[in-house]
């Protein structure tokens, strides 16, 4: 694999990955570690302890303006989440929509606790230029999009992430799922959020690029923590039922088809004030033509993206968009789209890839129980 070819970008942790013996692969224009010890071992370690992932390829950005009301309204021009209501120190999942109600990108929006005129956002690596262009096209005067190319992003994920991080930053114990704050870790100024892409408890840590390696080594020195690569990140998110942009959602899929309607704010539905509202509101009222679902697959053979979904009459009713082996499940896991009439859980289907067929039933796309540490009610 020509991961060292000259035109690939490197994250601030590239030298560390090489020292740790990672297998590097090209991903979204970057040389990224796909695995160190092995995907299954890294996956299991994340579910049982804590793993450190380099996700610096993702696009960290801010909308900056006079106050929260203004920057949130600017983001709401493309994003149907209810953002104006977001409390300081909280974050919310959402997406940028095109005029047809298709998903340009899915992303996490954060309102920092003490900075009223800033909205922080993380774009998918392969979409950051598209996202920036789409947002800049709709920004009102006085609101600016800044790309933070000078920052790295680390994800510390797993049930022991808090224990490992708290030794250097005790305040993390007071931070709950989907909350964020600036902090200092061993003298390094970071911005922390309690979030991730593994279905486990954990943190994402934004850090100035020049301090990223020092921070990564500090965390890897904790007894709970091992490095994990993009391979385990993919199996973890697949078992957790989380969408991968480009596979499970794209510019043709609507949030209703993708079973992400929960991310569309109530106020926004009532106002219908987002791109593609005509299609999305119609799908909300009448149901979408197709729907994202999971599949419980018989046998051991993985079924991968691109496989066809057939009903009992042998007609093609859908397609697998992500699939593979789930190490925690101990067998094949997959998600994809089926015609709405066949989306009910328990519906028997056949998954066909070339000459091979597997019997399956429609299931929830969430194969593993999430380990998020949510804020207790009333706290």
């Amino acid at each position: 694999m020509a991961a060292d070819s000259e035109n690939l970008k490197k994250t601030p942790l590239f030298a560390l990955h090489e020292r740790l013996g990672a297998r590097m692969v090209p991903f979204a224009g970057y040389a990224m570690p796909v695995q160190y010890e092995g995907i299954i071992a890294e996956h299991q370690h994340t579910r049982e302890s804590a793993s450190l992932f380099d996700v610096s390829h993702m696009g960290q950005a801010s909308l900056v303006g006079p106050d929260w009301e203004t920057v949130a309204a600017a983001m709401e021009r493309l994003n149907p989440a209810a953002l104006k209501e977001l409390a300081p120190g909280r974050m919310r999942y959402g997406f940028l929509l095109n005029e047809e109600g298709g998903i340009i990108d899915d992303l996490m929006v954060t309102r920092p606790p003490h900075e009223d005129g800033r909205l922080m956002v993380v774009f998918n690596a392969a979409r950051k230029d598209v996202d920036a262009e789409a947002l800049r096209a709709v920004l009102p005067e006085g609101v600016e999009l800044l790309m933070h190319e000078d920052r790295a992003l680390l994800a510390l994920q797993g049930p022991k992430a808090e224990a490992a991080l708290a030794r250097h930053c005790p305040e993390v114990a007071d931070l709950y799922f989907m909350e964020a704050m600036p902090a200092k870790i061993a003298g390094i100024d970071v911005f922390l959020s309690r979030s991730g892409y593994t279905g486990e408890d954990g943190f994402e840590i934004s850090v100035p690029a020049e301090r990223a390696e020092e921070l990564a080594e500090l965390l890897l020195n904790e007894p709970e923590v091992k490095p994990a690569g993009l391979g385990a990140r993919d199996t973890l998110r697949l078992e957790a039922g989380l969408c991968l942009y480009g596979n499970d959602i794209d510019e043709t899929t609507s949030p209703v088809e993708a079973a992400l309607t929960w991310a569309i704010g109530k106020r926004r539905r009532e106002a219908g004030d987002f791109p593609g509202a005509a299609r999305i509101l119609k799908e909300l009222a009448e149901g979408p033509a197709r729907k994202r679902v999971g599949f419980a697959i018989q046998g051991r053979a993985p079924v991968r993206a691109g496989a066809e979904v057939l009903n009992e009459a042998g007609e093609v009713i859908g397609r697998i968009t992500s699939g593979g082996f789930g190490p925690t499940v101990g067998g094949p896991v997959a998600m994809g789209y089926v015609a709405a009439a066949c989306a009910e859980q328990g519906t028997p289907v056949t998954l066909r890839s070339g000459r091979r067929e597997a019997a399956a039933t429609v299931a929830s796309p969430t194969f593993t129980q999430p380990g998020y540490r949510r804020r207790p009610k009333g706290k």
């Binding site: 796909v34 695995q35 092995g38 995907i39 051991r300 053979a301 993985p302 593979g324 082996f325």
Partner: protein, 125 residues
């Protein structure tokens, strides 16, 4: 002592008499990473040199297993179907896939010996 031959598709075949034991090489297993599924041909199947004779899948990818020689499959290794991780642990030993009764031993001349295979792997890197 059996003679071991290698293919450009990274299978090995160890030949004793007219029976060859087939598997994938250590290099192939390392490249695939964690192997999670192996499909071997059924006993009695006639395989042809260079033809498909099974599938091996890792977490990341699926890949076909090609028959190093032509012949009849006379035995398959149940271990690799039941515990595919054994292929990673011992690809050129306990992780063998199937045994084939060679129908044309001359085909072995098309294959590489260990030194030639190692040079081939180095040239691919």
């Amino acid at each position: 002592m059996a003679d071991i031959y290698y293919t450009k598709e990274h299978e090995w075949i160890s030949v004793e008499g007219d029976i060859g034991t087939v598997g994938i090489t250590k290099h192939a297993a390392e490249q695939l990473g964690d192997i999670v599924f192996v499909e071997t041909p059924e006993v009695g199947t006639q395989v042809e040199q260079g033809g498909e004779s099974g599938v091996v899948e890792s977490v990341k990818a699926a890949s076909d297993v090609y028959a190093p020689v032509s012949g009849e499959v006379v035995e398959v290794n149940p271990v690799v179907s039941e515990d595919p991780g054994r292929v990673n642990e011992d690809p050129e030993g306990q992780g063998w896939f199937y045994k084939v009764k060679l129908s044309n031993p001359d085909e072995l001349k098309d294959l590489m010996d260990k030194a030639a295979y190692e040079a081939f792997v180095a040239s691919e890197a």
